[in-house]
């Protein structure tokens, strides 16, 4: 067998050397005006990408070939594990996920090197140089503390197996999506730092960053939604969001990134908020780095229990301090010189977007505070505590409700100066419909104040989207509905689609939180129980053999109005290699409700089993909304104005 692990290790070391060059040469070239040094950036970034891909493929090969002489493979795989999960195990461990991080960064750098040909040489050199610095940090971190190619000699006969929770199709796609988004904010960060370095913070900077930020945000949205869905169906508890530090780590950059997308619009179109937008670009990526630190250093306990090693934490913390601290010092020094652009009134699209920014930033800040609060209290010797969902839920609802309300007005208000009476007249029907719907619809089940709030906001968002679309189409100059639809730019549709997605998600969150019901009970074969208007009957019990596990499977028939509508089969799996037990819940999804049955423990010598049966109205809407948001992001990126040719034409015109 070829020694693939050595090849991988060697290409990582070479990648580090290339990254050091990529960090140094272009930045020095840009400051001294040396053209050849600057143009090296593009080739170095692509070269680094190829080397990292080789390293990643080597690790994947070691997993596929069951090379247990590699410690990482021995700890996270097993010869019984099916091939697809052996490949997914490549990023299932700490070391592998750091390698995935680096792979994504190299991918984004290579993409920047390809799609920025129309930009000035100094800009490209600075952007790739900054990304090179980030890459150097992560490569050093990996080689020093978490090398995935570390040997285990003598090699064991078989491996420990992959964590049973990770043996799932969701695991195959969730981390790459999430990291694409997380790491994608490095591009916006690099553009911002490059602009600060070059002292050229203008509207063109915002226009270049926008498509990159939108793509990263789209991936992050998918990644978070997949993560939430994955924990919903694989953890077997039926929860879809836990405010766990690991979830917060991905949610904070998402909130900052959402604020950044909106702020970039104002900077591009109106030349306002320049300093603020730069700060948000730094913040979004800093929160990604901070998230990586929180997850990888083990300073916080989480349900996603990862291996902890203080040395890792110290290395990431130093790196974090250099990158974030350095960029914030640069910001403090250069931002003073920024002259703000056009002025605007207290009520205008600018001011509404600014309020949206403040609210989203406050939300990200309060999530950050809740996440690190236990750590701060512990550092001050005030004891051990944990901040739970009650804090996050109440703070989050309070901050996001006004943001949702503004979401309805923002797209309709005029730039520079909007008249309140005019806005009120234009939106009076949307307001009336949403308030009435919010108040009266909950009576269909049971009236609850939070349900009214959630539904009012969702209807408000949808109604304002419809009114805006209709009035825009009416005022279009062309004839025919199709022609009129075509007059509006794609990024307008992208925005409205994403806003519509937010409304859909709120409906899901509101209704499932308000009306879900569950029962924990003991059942013997033949017994039945009713939950949420359905009757569940425990029919039989059987043994099942999986590829690397044995399972007990219960057959549960579900009846509605006396008729059997479906059969559900929850399992308890016991994995051979690790001995881990996993409750594989049976989920019957639907547009208006999910039924969720978990098989628990055997009691009374196996004649009776504990069950958890849940009825979750509209839960699927949470993720459907995220799909709309992501589609909206993708649609907005595909707008003509972001095509390299179009923006270089725009540059010539300007």
């Amino acid at each position: 067998m070829p020694d693939v692990a050595t090849i991988g290790n060697f290409s990582l070391i070479t990648a580090l050397i290339v990254a050091i060059l990529q960090a140094a040469l272009p930045l020095m070239g840009a400051s001294q005006g040396k053209s050849t040094w600057m143009s090296a950036a593009v080739r170095l970034a692509r070269c680094q990408f190829i080397l990292v891909v080789i390293a990643f493929l080597s690790l994947a090969y070691c997993f596929a070939a069951n090379d247990f002489s590699v410690l990482n493979v021995a700890q996270n795989s097993n010869s019984e594990l099916p091939l697809n999960y052996r490949l997914a195990a490549t990023w299932g461990s700490h070391e592998g996920s750091i390698l995935l991080w680096i792979l994504m960064l190299a991918f984004w750098s290579a993409a920047v090197s390809i799609f920025t040909r129309h930009l000035a040489k100094e800009v490209v050199a600075r952007v790739l140089g900054v990304m090179g610095i980030v890459s150097v940090g992560f490569l050093i971190f990996m080689l020093v503390t978490s090398n995935p190619f570390t040997r285990l000699i003598p090699a064991p006969a078989d491996g420990n197996d992959l964590n049973a929770l990770l043996q799932d199709p969701g695991m195959v796609v969730h981390p790459p999506m999430l990291y694409m988004g997380y790491v994608g904010f490095s591009v916006a960060f690099a553009f911002a730092v490059a602009a600060l370095l070059g002292n050229r913070l203008d509207a063109s900077w915002a226009r270049w960053s926008r498509p990159w930020t939108l793509i990263a945000w789209t991936f992050l949205t998918c990644g978070i939604a997949l993560g939430s869905y994955w924990s919903y169906y694989v953890q077997g508890w039926g929860g879809w969001w836990f405010w766990d530090p690991v979830e917060n780590a991905s949610f904070m950059p998402w909130l900052a990134g959402t604020a950044l997308i909106h702020s970039l619009v104002v900077t591009e179109k109106r030349g306002a908020f320049k300093a603020w937008t730069v700060l948000l670009a730094i913040a979004a990526f800093s929160l990604s780095l901070l998230g990586t630190f929180l997850v990888r250093s083990g300073v916080l306990i989480s349900v996603h229990a990862f291996a902890t090693d203080p040395k890792r934490g110290i290395v990431i913390l130093c790196f974090l301090t250099l990158i974030i601290g350095g960029s914030l010092v640069l910001y403090a020094w250069r931002a003073r010189q920024i002259r703000s652009g056009a002025s605007f009134d207290a009520i205008s699209r600018e001011s509404l977007l600014l309020s949206n920014n403040v609210l989203l930033t406050a939300a990200a800040g309060s999530v950050l505070l809740g996440t690190v609060y236990p750590l701060i209290i512990d550092a001050l010797n005030l004891g051990k505590l944990s901040v739970g969902p009650p804090y996050f839920n109440s703070v989050f609802v309070a901050i996001m409700s006004p943001a949702m309300f503004l979401m309805g007005i923002g797209p309709i208000a005029k730039w520079r100066k909007a008249e309140i009476p005019e806005l009120v007249i234009r939106l009076r029907w949307a307001l009336a419909i949403s308030i009435l719907a919010g108040i009266f619809i909950p009576f269909a089940v049971k009236w609850k104040p939070l349900v009214t709030l959630g539904l009012t906001l969702s209807f408000w968002i949808v109604a304002t989207i419809c009114f805006d679309l209709v009035s825009k189409l009416k005022s279009a100059q062309t004839k025919g509905i199709v022609q009129r639809l075509r007059t509006l730019p794609r990024n307008y549709y992208g925005m409205q689609l994403a806003h519509f997605g937010v409304a859909i998600s709120i409906v899901g969150i509101t209704l499932v939180t308000g009306y879900e019901s569950q029962k924990d009970l003991l059942m013997r074969v033949g017994e039945s129980t009713g939950v949420g208007g359905y009757v569940f009957q425990f029919q039989d019990l059987s043994g099942v053999e999986g590829p690397n596990y044995d399972a007990v499977r219960a057959g549960v028939d579900v009846f509605q109005n006396g008729k059997q509508i479906l059969r559900m089969q929850p399992e308890v799996r016991s994995y051979h290699a690790s001995g881990n037990e996993l409750k594989n819940a049976a989920i019957a999804g639907g547009i208006f409700r999910d039924l969720y049955v978990t098989l628990g423990e055997p009691l009374e010598e196996g004649t009776a089993w504990t069950f958890r049966i849940q009825h979750k109205p509209f839960v699927g809407w949470i993720w459907a909304g995220a799909v709309f948001m992501a589609l909206g992001g993708a649609l907005a990126c595909s707008d003509r104005r972001y095509k390299p040719a179009a923006s270089s034409a725009a540059r010539k015109a300007a």
Partner: protein, 173 residues
């Protein structure tokens, strides 16, 4: 000045994160420390018909180690347990947690047996009484049956020499 606010906030955060790193979030103060060890009666691993209860150990200082044959970290601490048992300073009793009896016996045969005796906690109920987060965990119990120390995760040479042995000496004198 206002542009320096972000860096000041960040520096404060880094200081706290730095302090946080020096602490182990797993070091939870166990509510069981200085409380009587929960009573139980379980069957012995070697003789599944003979019960054992910790009340039989009144008057001795002893260690209760929870372990399982499927547990990887238990392999890591096993040589330390063997050395500790050989030294004879403190008797080690085992609680075999959520394990199959044949697997557990096979494991002891191949890895060596540091335990005076083992009890089987097949369904993990006793482990739950003791607040076991995950195996291995080790409890030091004094002559009156009170828990004096709890180690979460595998024993280390440091924890044995710096904490357990001095405590044992203290409790025995």
């Amino acid at each position: 000045m206002k542009f320096a606010v972000p860096i000041l906030i960040f520096v404060t955060l880094v200081i706290f994160l730095g302090f946080g790193l020096r602490r182990d979030p797993r070091l939870l103060p166990s509510p069981l420390i200085d409380r009587p060890a929960p009573a139980f009666q379980l069957m012995r691993l070697d003789e599944p018909n003979r019960p054992f209860s910790p009340t039989e150990l009144r008057g001795t200082v002893w260690l209760l180690n929870t372990w399982a044959s499927w547990c990887v970290s238990c392999r890591q601490e096993h040589p330390l347990l063997l050395a500790l048992a050989r030294s004879g300073v403190v008797p080690v009793y085992g609680l075999n947690y959520k394990d199959k009896r044949t697997d557990a016996l096979e494991w002891l045969k191949s890895m060596g047996n540091p335990y005076i005796l083992n009890v089987q906690d097949a369904d993990g109920r006793v482990g739950m009484d003791y607040g076991v987060y995950g195996v291995p965990e080790t409890y030091l119990i004094d002559k009156t049956g009170v828990i004096r120390f709890k180690q979460i995760g595998p024993l280390t040479l440091e924890s044995i020499e710096k904490t357990i042995l001095p405590l044992v000496r203290n409790l025995n004198s």
